[in-house]
């Protein structure tokens, strides 16, 4: 009898608690976001919430500013993180594991405390709160997340490609742009994706470092839920739903780019050289 139950049991059943939890706490909430975004103040079906998202000047301005903050800080972060990752993955530094660790240790410290520390230093240096300070805060917060994937790709890269390129007469600049950089693109994309969309939600940083006019769209959504009377969450839900679509678009774009880059590198791997 016991043997029979053991045979009937499939190991896949071990996943069922997690699957149930995912349906209740992940899938249903997303359905609720969709339902509430089509719900008016009195519970009727309406497109009003979406119309408001795309016509309200304040919301559009905040969306635009979020994109601007995200683009500027991601670009700055990439421009600092790439050279650092490149140096850390190169000859004499590669062996000093502790050095790379020093750059990512802040990841383990509560980010609000880190931002608090940065804010204290900036105000001591006389930097005013505003767009610039907010960008500095975001770059400071996300730096390890940008550095780590690029560093991982660069330090795991097969150095024989670089050597082959040098042997065939390319100088170090050409080698970098034609060999190292293309091979490191997956790390760069992974770094960007760990930073760009999360910035939409980092209203804590813009509130601590920015002025009244500097904010990300996450702040708007949080406000809509905190100060809205119960039963009137439609507008915030519609805004969230739009963000969800944006996330999906970026994910799609990221997948296409990542899928493309190894293909570009494949001829090298296949031995055309």
């Amino acid at each position: 009898m016991k043997k029979k139950t053991a045979k009937v049991f499939r190991p896949t059943a071990f996943a069922s608690p997690y699957l149930i939890a995912t349906i209740i706490f992940v899938i249903i909430p997303l359905v609720l976001v969709l339902v509430y975004s089509f719900r008016g103040a009195n519970g009727e079906f309406t497109f009003e919430n979406f119309r408001k998202v795309f016509t309200d000047k304040e919301t559009l301005r905040q969306l635009g500013q979020t994109l601007e903050i995200a683009a500027v800080s991601t670009a700055i972060c990439l421009l600092i993180a790439y050279p650092i990752a490149y140096i850390l993955a190169s000859a004499p530094f590669k062996k000093m594991a502790i050095l790379a660790l020093l750059f990512i240790i802040p990841m383990w410290i509560n980010f609000m405390l880190r931002i608090f520390a940065l804010q204290s230093l900036l105000s001591m240096l006389g930097v005013k709160k505003g767009f610039g300070a907010a960008v500095i805060g975001i770059v400071y917060d996300f730096f390890p997340y940008m550095l780590l994937p690029i560093y991982t790709v660069l330090s795991n890269m097969d150095k024989s490609y670089v050597e082959a390129s040098r042997d065939l007469g390319a100088n170090s600049v050409v080698t970098f742009f034609k060999v190292t950089l293309p091979l490191s693109i997956p790390g760069v994309i992974s770094g960007i994706s760990m930073m760009f969309m999360p910035i939409f939600s980092s209203y804590a940083i813009t509130k601590m470092m920015g002025d009244m006019n500097t904010t990300v769209i996450g702040a708007k959504i949080a406000n809509l839920f905190e100060y809205q009377s119960i039963g009137n969450y439609g507008y915030g839900s519609a805004l969230s739903f739009v963000l969800l679509i944006v996330v999906l678009l970026f994910m799609f774009l990221g997948t296409i780019l990542t899928k493309r880059s190894p293909k570009a590198a494949k001829p090298v791997k296949g031995g055309t050289l």
């Binding site: 049991f9 992940v26 509430y36 609000m112 520390a117």
Partner: protein, 281 residues
């Protein structure tokens, strides 16, 4: 000769770049540590005398101590739940057929790729729905925060445990069950010992992610009166943050640094011992 000097110049330049960025990363933290022993209201003001006054004040600041306790309780309990849920899920997913596996993997990625504010709002709406529409007696509370943190950290445990599972002999679990052990017993006595390392990493990752969380906690504690370190600092922006936050920051920096250094020394020792064993053989 010329080549040699230019390459050593490059080396110096590389060191300079690394050190400048390291200085930028650590200067704010160092200033907080230095000024945690001063009583000046702002960092960078007149230092005065070296004193432990802020530390004394910290241990009298009930709100901040409660927030720290809440952060630790939510972090530890949700990381424990996430480790259990994530490990069992990994084992189950491991034995799924390709198509089901792809679907479950995609579902587990949702909270990872989604913007946190949308995830947070989803939880918020779910609570409103359960409380007001189907009238289950639940409300925003410490328990609710533990559940939400468990849900957002479990996928990371799966990401940590699954690769280890792939390295194991695929017939282990079935062999154990064929020999008469029940599924729970097979899981606990056969699979878990081999997954222990990955589970510990998963637990540590879940714990750090939970401690670091702000958005989900902020949105899901509206009206619940549960503060964590993150929400305490955030709500302090409007008022003025008490200076003893600097003492708490210093303690946290030192704990994190000690844990990481000890962890790395142990890891290096283990790697060395393993290398020794191979050499002896």
């Amino acid at each position: 000769m010329k080549n040699k000097t230019s390459s050593s110049l490059f080396l110096i330049l590389k060191w300079v770049i690394l050190l400048v960025v390291l200085a930028a990363i650590y200067l704010p933290l160092i200033m907080i540590i230095v000024y945690s022993f001063s009583t000046n209201r702002t960092v960078g003001g007149e230092y005065g005398e070296f004193t432990f006054a802020l530390y004394k004040k910290l241990f009298e600041n009930k709100a901040l101590l409660t927030a720290t306790k809440n952060s630790l309780v939510i972090g530890l309990v949700s990381a424990l739940l996430a480790t259990i849920l994530g490990t069992t899920a990994s084992v189950g997913i491991h034995y799924m057929r390709k198509k089901t596996k792809a679907a479950v993997d995609a579902a587990s990625q949702i909270t990872i790729v989604n913007t946190e504010i949308v995830t947070a709002m989803g939880f918020f709406l779910l609570m409103i729905f359960m409380r007001d529409t189907i009238q289950i007696p639940v409300n925003f509370s410490l328990g609710w925060l533990i559940i939400t943190h468990t849900i957002i950290t479990t996928p990371y445990v799966i990401l940590t445990v699954s690769p280890r599972l792939k390295q194991l002999n695929p017939n282990l679990l079935e062999a154990s069950m064929d020999l008469g052990a029940g599924p729970m017993r097979s899981l606990i006595t056969v699979m878990l010992p081999q997954l222990a390392g990955a589970m510990i990493s998963g637990f540590a990752l879940a714990f750090t992610l939970s401690l670091d969380d702000f958005v989900v906690t902020n949105i899901n504690s509206f009206g619940a009166n549960v503060e964590t370190i993150s929400t305490y600092v955030y709500s302090g922006i409007r008022k003025k943050l008490p200076a003893d936050i600097r003492a708490l920051s210093t303690i946290i920096f030192i704990v994190v640094l000690t844990v990481l250094i000890v962890f790395n020394i142990v890891k290096n020792k283990k790697a060395k011992n393993a290398a020794k064993k191979i050499n002896q053989q």
